[in-house]
Symmetry: C2
Subunit: 513 residues, 2 copies
């Protein structure tokens, strides 16, 4: 080491890191550890601390540095200084030169995001290649405060308020391997942040005390524009409100992390109770079970399903989630909500289905007509819908009339038999179809009504319509029921009704009630 | 009403409030409702909206106004204007004049806090007196954003991030009744905030559209200095980071409220599993069960216990909670942590006890000596500790030596019999006592060591010391064991040990293992 005497601050940093390691784990004795070193103060301090602690823990360290090719000669000087630092310490070192600007262009990412993804990908590859199970990086306590604040201002809820984790799965961060090594396969690699409780000021003092000469990264890639504004403008102002704001943001992160973990554990238990099927294409919830979950778990299961289908998505913000929950709880059958990553939530009769918009949705789980031919139905009698798991049952209703005054279930409808007549059929809509929806004064076009009812466009042509020839208005075919949605006001059961017909759609495996 | 034509904005406010009532409940049809009216824009808008909706819902409204006696003539003018507004509408009205400054002095509260408490107390009393179950107040969406931000800057975790609730128990707010009516008894009164989703700008437009002439409260009592700074300085700056920050803060509140509710439900289940006893004086947890809870529930149960003992406490901040959790999990027997409201958490051998500092703590549940007389003990043999539920068992150890190399339990210790000798006693510490703690080089004073070990002062004189007369160092009494804490290095079991003595303290109802 550099032979300088240690000072007060130094012992503090060392002990803080040691205490954190003892408390939070992740760096076991005799571990092989990749240390990400940019050459700045954080990573130089990290390397120095890891080397000193490594003597006690028996670690073998491996330095990793990525040249982003973004700052020309300056970046090259960084690279040389890191290589020299490793050499002086007798540590193995991997350096990779990546044209991050090119990656950003090819993958249509911001330069900051591309740099981040490529860097983590490089660290992951390096760890796999040398057989290390852990990667250490130099994020500090001030980075953490800034991250928490940034997430708060973006609105990412508890998940975001956790800030950066001190010990996490590296592959869970979105990484892009430029070497072609697949990042998804191979043993899991932990990412640890040993300096996450050490402030920037303490790190600078440590560097001074140990004669470390950090490079200054002028472009400050890690700390893009927003972060710099937070650091130099917003945090100083917030300190006039609460002088301990930085510390408090870190505590907020710690508290949020524990709350998040608890909710995640509860969600895991609930998951199996509400998920009907899941694969890489879609997650399907049983709608009635899902709707019984507490609101927090409704949000949490939707968020989790989103991450399972789009593992590389970062921070689903809660505006999207809230809208999706609202549609799922209150939306009519067929309603849809958009989620990030090109995902779409579709409300089925008994299901909620989350899948990519590009994934061809299976036929919905409610009765549809796939033929243009009218399908005659008999009264009383049963009629199977072709290409569908459903049948229509029609029978005389002898139960109490009160029951027949309201249609509790969208697949069940009661009609005044004398107004309905006996010449019935199912068919899909035709141009010019009109009806008189119950609850609305006057006639309306079926086409307009379907749009207003938010029936998805591609299913509008397949919604069954119950057609009748009213005895009172001879000859003219009329629409008695847009199945699943609304009956016609003229055939409803009233206090004057003498005889009642009950129509109900049932799934094939459902017996009559 | 005032006969003016409604405009666009107006319909919006009315519908927003109607929708909120339908969705969140709290204002049932035919309810008797106290409306808190200061005379400012929020409460005038509230009164107007409540009157219009009341026609549909069949509400009977009662206006309540408190004159804080803080602004002299201005406050009197407010009072008159509210009384007139009620009279014009034909609504009953209660007005109370309270010297808030005096209350603040008597109760040693800030004027803002005193005003808040007295005002809610007045609303509660009024509701009880006229037989209303609901009180409505005029907090708006901007108040909510400011509250969430204020709590975030104070660090109150999820509980605080919920902001103000749209429907809550009025008695749960700290209220002071100046009339002498007890606020703790009587039926629960709900506090609702119908304008919580309506912005300040919408309220002002509504007032204009309806020709309402709000009074301007210059002192802005509700919106003390901090709130004004947030409103005029911080929020405008945050809007340059995220133009939707106000809306986002409200969404944060909604998300936090659901997460909080879920954790509260999980906590409720856990509560009965970890609480041993509870009354108005103390909550006692079973320590081992409590320690197995996830961190979030450890925090949540401590917070809940704090509120149960101090129902009027607002927002326990998480710095206190974190320290208390840390002491509870890692602290030695006897360790203490301070919580707000003069509460103190004490770590027992098998319990965690939360109680007021003024409550006399019962004798701790571990072996203590209450007499100054030495207590001879026999080897092998059993000795009961007087005035204690504990006994000391001493026997020859014939089990494997490996077991005897470490003391797994603080109440059990193994000794080298040949170094210990057979002349043993228990006594409390005496001035000048020294020993050589295992794991530390050299001798130390028992008094100093007890301080360093954080043994609570009042119990230090009662900790039993196992005394022996080492055969190898004839005559001189030495300390073999500070019971519960540390043995002396000189009597420990080593690879050379021939015969082993095992000493163990057991509670009276515990049988030998």
């Amino acid at each position: 080491m550099d032979g300088q005497q240690t000072v007060g601050e130094d012992v503090d940093v060392l002990n803080q890191v040691r205490e954190m390691i003892e408390r939070e784990g992740g760096l076991s004795a005799w571990a092989k550890i990749v240390v990400g070193v940019s050459g700045g103060p954080d990573s130089l301090c990290l390397l120095h601390v890891m080397e000193r602690l490594g003597a006690d823990y028996g670690w073998s360290l491996h330095v990793a540095h990525m040249n982003h090719c973004l700052r020309g000669g300056e970046a090259d000087d960084d690279m040389v200084s890191v290589a020299l630092a490793a050499m002086q310490r007798g540590l193995p070192c991997t350096i990779e030169v990546v044209d991050v600007g090119g990656v950003a262009q090819r993958r249509r990412l911001s330069v900051e995001e591309a740099a981040r993804q490529v860097r983590y990908g490089f660290l992951l590859d390096t760890a796999r290649r040398i057989g290390a199970a852990v990667v250490a990086v130099g994020h500090n306590a001030d980075d953490q405060s800034e991250t928490v604040l940034m997430h708060f201002l973006r609105g990412t809820g508890l998940a975001g308020l956790r800030g950066m984790l001190s010990n996490t799965d590296l592959a869970s961060l979105h990484t892009v391997s430029e070497r072609g090594l697949t990042t998804a396969l191979g043993p899991p690699i932990r990412l640890v942040r040993p300096l996450l409780h050490v402030t920037r000021a303490e790190i600078e003092q440590y560097c001074q005390a140990h004669g470390l000469a950090p490079r200054v990264d002028r472009s400050n890639l890690d700390t893009a524009l927003l972060r710099n504004r937070l650091r130099h403008e917003l945090l100083p102002l917030l300190e006039t409100y609460n002088p301990n704001i930085r510390e408090l943001l870190r505590r907020t992160a710690a508290v949020a992390a524990a709350d998040y973990d608890l909710i995640a554990a509860v969600r895991q238990t609930a998951w199996s109770q509400v998920v009907q099927t899941q694969d890489t294409q879609a997650v399907v919830f049983r709608r009635s079970d899902w709707c019984k979950l507490p609101l927090a778990l409704q949000r949490s299961t939707l968020r989790e399903a989103t991450y399972q289908l789009r593992p590389h998505l970062r921070d689903v913000d809660f505006v999207h989630l809230e809208q999706a929950v609202d549609v799922a709880v209150r939306g009519p059958t067929g309603a849809q909500a958009t989620l990030p990553g090109g995902l779409c939530l579709t409300v089925g009769y008994q299901t909620l289905r989350l899948a990519g918009k590009e994934v061809h949705a299976p036929r919905p789980d409610w009765p549809l007509l796939w033929s243009d031919e009218p399908l005659p139905v008999t009264l009383p009698g049963q009629t199977r819908l072709p290409d569908s798991g459903w049948r229509l049952e029609i029978r005389w209703w002898n139960g109490p009339k009160e029951v027949a005054l309201h249609n509790a279930d969208c697949w069940s409808a009661y009609f005044d038999a004398d107004r309905l007549g006996t010449s019935l059929a199912l068919r899909s809509r035709q141009p010019g179809d009109r009806f008189q929806p119950l609850g609305i004064n006057g006639q309306t076009k079926v086409a307009d009504w379907m749009i207003n009812a938010k029936i998805p466009r591609r299913w509008r042509a397949h919604i069954p319509l119950l057609i009748h020839h009213p005895p009172v208005d001879t000859g003219r075919e009329q629409i008695a029921w847009i199945v699943g949605w609304r009956i016609d006001a003229r055939v409803r059961v009233t206090s004057d009704t003498q005889r009642i017909v009950h129509c109900v759609f049932r799934e094939a495996d459902e017996t009559s009630r």
